[in-house]
């Protein structure tokens, strides 16, 4: 029985997916990154391998690494860019997708695909923390609300604040001062999600948007950001049938299988 492994080492989380010969997901894992990419890989392996009943790396047929830390994965047979892996993963789970907005911990990518899942165009922000997961993380710390609550709490208000700062650091000061003025947390959270959505859609509009469209990455789990993006575009996002955080690792696993078969044919 073959085990094709895809590992996606992001800046905030590490993801691993194992698929079988029929492209079915056998196991998946998402963890927060450890001190070094190498440690993250080891913890990922220690937790995913038992799930498919193996404890030995030799049972891994082939491995593809992707993400920010992809060069630090010792067992990777090859490394592939995140853009390609996300495109592949997204097309596999939903072939009708033409645009994928992936918002990761420290970057934001908008990927355009054709009907065969080939990459048509993409744009990426990895220069500025605004519009990435890091922004939301900082804002949740400042508000003292857990990251996963930032979405739900923002739905409780009809009067979101309008944040003036784009820069994450300035936004932190702005939020502190809003809290000092006694503005309610849901209003601020809603303003944060709205600002986040605006940044991402600004980026997306630079490469154009075609339906079907979806959002992947950790930020896809923030309902507030998703609703605001849908409002700005006037389009409903397709809901992915798998955890939106594993799309890159799944793509890596699919490429892993393809590469192995190609090399051994």
């Amino acid at each position: 029985m073959a085990n094709y492994l895809g590992i996606d080492i992001g800046s905030l989380t590490g993801k691993a997916v194992i698929i079988d010969d029929n492209n079915n997901i056998k196991a998946q894992k998402v963890i927060y990154v450890k001190k070094t990419p190498l440690k993250t890989v080891n913890v990922l392996l220690d937790s995913i391998l038992p799930e498919i009943g193996i404890d030995d790396l030799s049972k891994i047929t082939y491995c593809v690494g992707t993400g920010y830390g992809r060069r630090k994965i010792p067992l990777a047979n090859e490394t592939i860019s995140e853009i390609t892996c996300h495109g592949t993963g997204a097309h596999h789970v939903m072939p009708s997708l033409r645009t994928v907005i992936d918002i990761g911990g420290q970057d934001c990518k908008v990927i355009r695909l054709d009907e065969n899942g080939n990459l048509k165009n993409f744009i990426m922000n990895e220069k500025c923390a605004a519009g990435t997961g890091r922004y939301l993380e900082l804002m949740s710390e400042t508000l003292n609300i857990p990251l996963e609550k930032l979405g739900p709490i923002s739905l409780k208000t009809k009067s979101p604040v309008s944040l003036q700062s784009k820069c994450s650091l300035y936004a932190q000061f702005e939020v502190i001062s809003l809290l000092g003025e006694g503005i309610k947390k849901p209003d601020i959270a809603a303003g944060i999600n709205k600002a986040m959505a605006e940044r991402v859609i600004n980026l997306a509009e630079k490469v154009g948007i075609e339906e079907d469209i979806t959002v992947s990455g950790g930020v896809a789990k923030n309902i507030g950001v998703v609703i605001n993006m849908e409002k700005l575009l006037g389009i409903k996002f397709k809901k992915l049938p798998v955890d939106p955080q594993i799309i890159g690792a799944l793509g890596a696993a699919l490429i892993s299988r393809k590469s192995f078969l190609k090399k051994n044919s």
């Binding site: 800046s11 001190k35 070094t36 420290q106 990895e126 220069k127 500025c128 923390a129 890091r134 922004y135 900082l138 784009k166 820069c167 994450s168 650091l169 300035y170 000061f173 502190i176 000092g180």
Partner: protein, 268 residues
Amino acid sequence: MIYLKKKASYLTFNAGLDIGSCYCKCVVINENKEIIATSISPLGGNPRNASKLTFENALKSANLKSKNIKNIVCVGRNRKKVSFKSHEESEIKCIAKGARELIPSLRTIVDLGALTNKAIKLNSNGKVVDYVINDKCASGSGMFLELVAKALEMDISDIDKKAKMSENPLPITNQCSIFAESEVIYLVNESKNEIDIIAGVTNSIANRIYSLLKRVNMEKDIILTGGVANTNYIKLKLEERLNMEIKEPTISPIYIAAFGASLYASEI
């Protein structure tokens, strides 16, 4: 000081209060525009309380009562939050006024604040003719430096000393403060020397200031003001890049805007 104590009740004093993003600074001057007291306190979450405390501390150190102060001019990002003021002035004008009073030959000022860096150009009469504020991105600001120092578990007052010890400053590739912070943590985990990291970070700030200076067509003489200017290493690196000397103010650069405000107060 003894002289002041005696005559305090019938001399005229004026105060400038600079309520920035992180610190509140107060300068009290006498009739001869001489500084007789300075005071600084962190803003905390409450600019109102911090400004009151800073003002009271300045009075206390000069042995004055608030009735001895003729006018109080407020400046800085949080100046609107002070109720006990006579007047408000813009940061650009106060920085220019304070700096020019200290060094009459000044033509260019770079203010390195907690959140923003500004370059101010003066004509030969000391009038502000141009200025550039970098207020879209915190890169190169005091908060940026503080964030990195925190990641290195380094005291802010040690930054200058440690940066100067480095013989091999590391290049920092990220401009974004938040990403630079992650880069620094990464470098620490790679067992890089904290001295080389902090030197690299301060170097990158000097580079940011250099491009800001180019945007206002700087002319001699130049001075650095604001709290970050206390990091002398930035000045040295900037002097290297500019190949010219940067003037040293006779008071701590963090008080220059408050000093300018106190001068405005004396003119009301």
